[in-house]
């Protein structure tokens, strides 16, 4: 059961900024973006950038899961300002649960299965796991994710030691994966590199397991295998050109800022006091 659950159905259209609307676009496949998030110094900045990106898109439903005891008002307000339809809920990770975000994505999959009829008119949807610190080209959503029929895959920039991790494609079929790290995974792909048809999610009870026979780094591969997918099912996107292909998503990380007052010092240890925020709201 979620600790806190907020649902929003923003049906009104902002006259000044006609950015999003679910009206008049019922033929478009709905993109369900699943974003785990957690309190940290750079979270509001990261989340704001992702909101600025997603709020360009039509027919997008955003599921945001706080790794914490409760939802955070400032995050809720960012979601409201997007004019997107969304669910924001809190599911703290169980003690000693491995890998940040896994439990939250699992809760999102369960939420989708139990509630999709409340936020969708049909099963014409696709699920994408979009973390809040990555960088996204809008074409990833408009040209790739929206057109996934069963399971789509594409290259991801700057992930796991590679300039680009990508499926290896031959005759429009995925025949392997060009990655530096753990290339022998059956689906050697990062969370940001695939999207799955909603129907497939609904027909299965697969979730991110707390462990996976191929190791904790292979949970993506385990999920896709649990969904009954094979390499030959994969639709590769963006491989039309042999060279100068385009990266449309990057596994960016925001540097933790060097705040002077947070530097370890004997002075801070002897005379601890809250850091200066000049009256501003700051997460830390």
């Amino acid at each position: 059961k979620p600790i806190a659950l907020t649902e929003s159905e923003n049906d009104e259209i902002d006259e000044q900024e006609p950015r999003t609307s679910t009206e008049g676009s019922s033929t478009l496949k709905t993109i369900i973006v699943v974003t785990p998030t957690y309190k940290r110094l750079t979270r509001i900045a990261d989340f704001t950038r992702l909101a600025n990106t997603l709020s360009h898109l039509l027919n997008l439903y955003w599921i945001v899961i706080e790794d914490g005891q409760e939802t955070v008002p400032v995050v809720h307000k960012i979601l409201e300002r997007t004019h997107l339809n969304f669910t924001y809920m809190a599911h703290p990770s169980p003690p000693n649960y491995p890998n940040r975000g896994w439990y939250q994505r699992t809760m999102a999959l369960k939420y989708i299965r139990e509630n999709y009829t409340s936020f969708m008119r049909s099963q014409n949807g696709v699920v994408y796991f979009g973390d809040d610190d990555n960088a996204y080209d809008l074409r990833l959503f408009e040209e790739y994710i929206r057109n996934v029929k069963k399971i789509g895959m594409w290259g991801v920039g700057h992930v796991a030691g590679s300039l680009v991790e990508s499926p290896r494609v031959s005759n429009q079929k995925v025949v392997g994966f060009d990655v530096e790290w753990s290339p022998d995974r059956y689906f050697a792909i990062d969370m940001a590199g695939f999207a799955v048809d909603l129907q497939l999610i609904l027909e299965s009870d697969a979730v991110f397991r707390s462990s996976c026979p191929s190791g904790t780094g292979a949970l993506e591969s385990c999920l896709l295998a649990d969904l009954g997918l094979k390499r030959e099912d994969v639709e590769p996107f963006g491989f039309e050109k042999k060279n100068d292909r385009e990266v449309l998503v990057w596994h960016t990380k925001t540097l933790i800022p060097d705040i002077y007052e947070f530097r370890p010092s004997a002075w801070n240890w002897l005379f601890p006091k809250p850091p200066k925020t000049n009256g501003y709201f700051v997460e830390y």
Copy 2:
């Protein structure tokens, strides 16, 4: 003289995404955003996020200056996809010129003075220096920058060792600056923390000097002083509340990704070869 100069006047409106238009909004003050940029591993990701943010805004003119011998096609394409009006030009920094971006911003100020009549209908504008790696809340532009009459200032998150750098405001007047680093500057403010009315830029030939009596870290302060501004001229934004004020811009930095092939090693030194890009375009 610019080495390469590209001007675009995207007057057509994309029917599917009515995100920007210069028509029917002539009473809105035009925001001129000046962005120096340069080739680096994370540039396309950073620039894509900034484009996603700025493309929400009406009446915005984007001046982008490449620190390099020529403009970069993939950056040009990102600018075109925003449907914003823009100028993209290349001005490589002179040898040994201090502080990245200073020369490019100076070239932008000169460009604005010589060309504003070609991209604006009146002098009803405001100039903002928006770097491509920062994170921006849309309200910074809509509620703060657009409403600047002469010189506006506001808090900036995660800059120069502070959680928030901000003007110190008393009776709606700026009486000092709450910053950790170099607080005795006359205007102790980061580039992201102010915007200046276009008229003021046009009436002066002030640029970012290659040196400044108060030190290289005080170039912002020198520019504002050169524009003839005093602390009492400053309009502070966002100080209505005593507490829980909102940060609308963060001085974020993107972590340089750890690409295995770029790690120093005897093997790479003995047998150098280009890193694997899997056929993708990658800046490095």
